[in-house]
């Protein structure tokens, strides 16, 4: 129980973890945030590999920084090297890294790539995003941010905004919420960016109730946490459709005028034009803090999985 629940485990989907597992992670991250000087080099002598087959500077550097802060060494399969390995199967590449590292943090464009990697590698795999459903460490830090800033995750009303079809952060966040008892969970997106069947099925299976809305305005007065995603033009088959809908999913000072007092805006970043810079100075803007929690939450995660603090 407790720490043992994490030790040596693959982190493929947030759905693999119970509420108690997540609470343990958040407690550990809390102490890293609150007492940074007491954080030990608990992973000295370990090697963490980052293998990113799709560019994501933010997530990759965040894993690297987390590992380095805990005293681990980091080896990196950078995107240009991984493209050199294009002729090699993912299984072979992961087997190679398995021989070099104590843990592999990876990102891959294909659905299920991390699951495949976990089948061929003996060391723990941490999924830094694969396909369009799973990005567990992001969901963990998103929930941690809600808990830090709002004091709880249960009972709050959530609105997940924008691209719920392709944005893996949105799907993972919803799966994470399913481990809690949220109030109303609203999905606010245009028809073409609503969740796909397999995501809808999973949401239903894990017992999360959601409501679909076309715009945020009608519900914003009641929402505690606004979870934003990037709306990418290339996701729309018809560019006119993008032009038509992009305004409805954009957050500005004006669109937050009727927001609930104390509500927060989250965004996994990087942003495009869906999140106006003028919002940064508002008390609702929580995404910069959220980004800063990336390292401590990943530190807590690496520490639990590699069992460093036990020694």
């Amino acid at each position: 129980m407790g720490r043992d629940a994490w030790y040596g485990r693959d982190v493929l989907s947030i759905l693999d973890f119970s509420r108690a597992d997540l609470e343990l992670l958040f407690d550990s991250a809390d102490s890293i945030v609150d007492q940074p000087v007491r954080t030990k080099k608990s992973l000295a002598g370990k090697i963490v590999a980052t293998a990113f087959f799709e560019p994501s500077t933010r997530t990759r550097l965040s894993f690297s920084a987390a590992a380095l802060k805990l005293g681990a060494d980091v080896i990196d399969l950078s995107p240009d090297v991984s493209s050199l390995l294009k002729g090699e199967s993912l299984s072979d590449t992961m087997r190679m890294l398995d021989g070099y590292a104590d843990l592999i943090a990876m990102r891959h464009p294909s659905e299920g790539a991390a699951l495949l990697a976990s089948e061929v590698a003996s060391v723990p795999i941490v999924n830094g995003g694969d396909g369009s459903q799973h990005h567990p460490s992001q969901a963990m830090l998103d929930l941690f941010t809600v808990k830090r800033l709002k004091g709880r995750i249960d009972g709050l009303n959530y609105a997940v905004l924008g691209d719920i079809r392709y944005a893996r952060s949105a799907a993972s966040f919803l799966y994470g919420l399913a481990r809690y008892k949220p109030g109303k969970v609203s999905l606010v997106s245009p028809e073409s960016l609503r969740p796909r069947n397999e995501v809808k099925d999973t949401i239903k299976k894990v017992g999360l109730k959601t409501e679909q809305h076309d715009d945020l305005e009608s519900i914003i007065a009641d929402v505690d946490v606004i979870y934003m995603t990037r709306i990418q033009k290339e996701r729309f088959p018809d560019p006119n459709e993008y032009e038509k809908v992009k305004g409805s999913y954009r957050i500005t000072k004006g669109s937050l005028a009727n927001a609930k007092k104390g509500s927060i805006v989250l965004h996994a970043l990087p942003r495009t034009n869906e999140l106006a810079y003028e919002v940064d100075s508002l008390p609702n803007a929580a995404y910069m803090k959220q980004a800063r929690f990336g390292v401590p939450v990943r530190m807590a995660l690496l520490d639990l999985v590699l069992g460093g603090a036990k020694k």
């Binding site: 199967s89 299984s91 072979d92 299920g112 495949l116 396909g131 459903q133 397999e198 099925d201 999973t202």
Partner: protein, 158 residues
């Protein structure tokens, strides 16, 4: 088996008779079984589109020299869920097996998701599907969670 069928195909001494195959699916069943007729010492007889009181029309396969394994019987159920399998030794029915769709299917089906790792990496790994529903028959990809429905399964195998 009635006289008319007996006229069409002789009884087999050792092997498997697969009866109650949906009409038109006999060749798909052969493919599913790895085309045993290409192997030394195996004879296959097909009876296609014969009348059946139970099914209207049906196909029958007689595979001399091969006893279907339980695994093969399970796969058979993917495209011929009503099939009955008789294992024959010395002209007698040794065992009857009903085709039951398997809980897990490896390597036989392909995921329809273009971004699924089982599709992208198909040279190095096998697909894995688990049954999501028995009626209608639906299988879910282990890697991406997409479902294959009855028609998709049938079209992939036939």
């Amino acid at each position: 088996m009635n006289d008319k069928e007996t006229m069409l195909v002789q009884k087999i001494s050792d092997g498997t008779v697969i009866d109650h195959v949906s009409a038109g699916k006999a060749l798909s069943v052969l493919r599913l079984l790895g085309n045993p007729q290409n192997r030394e010492g195996v004879t296959v007889a097909l009876v296609m589109n014969v009348g059946s009181s139970k099914m209207g029309r049906k196909d029958i396969l007689k595979v001399e020299g091969v006893e279907l394994t339980d695994d093969q019987v399970q796969k058979l159920a993917l495209i011929a869920p009503l099939a009955s399998v008789n294992i024959i030794r010395s002209y007698r029915v040794l065992e009857k097996k009903n085709a039951v769709p398997p809980k897990t299917v490896r390597g036989v089906l392909s995921c329809t998701g273009a971004t699924c790792v089982s599709v992208r990496e198909k040279d190095s790994i096998s697909s894995v599907f688990t049954m999501a529903s028995s009626s209608p028959l639906t299988y879910r990809c282990k890697y991406c969670g997409r479902d294959l429905n009855e028609q998709e399964i049938a079209s992939q195998l036939g």
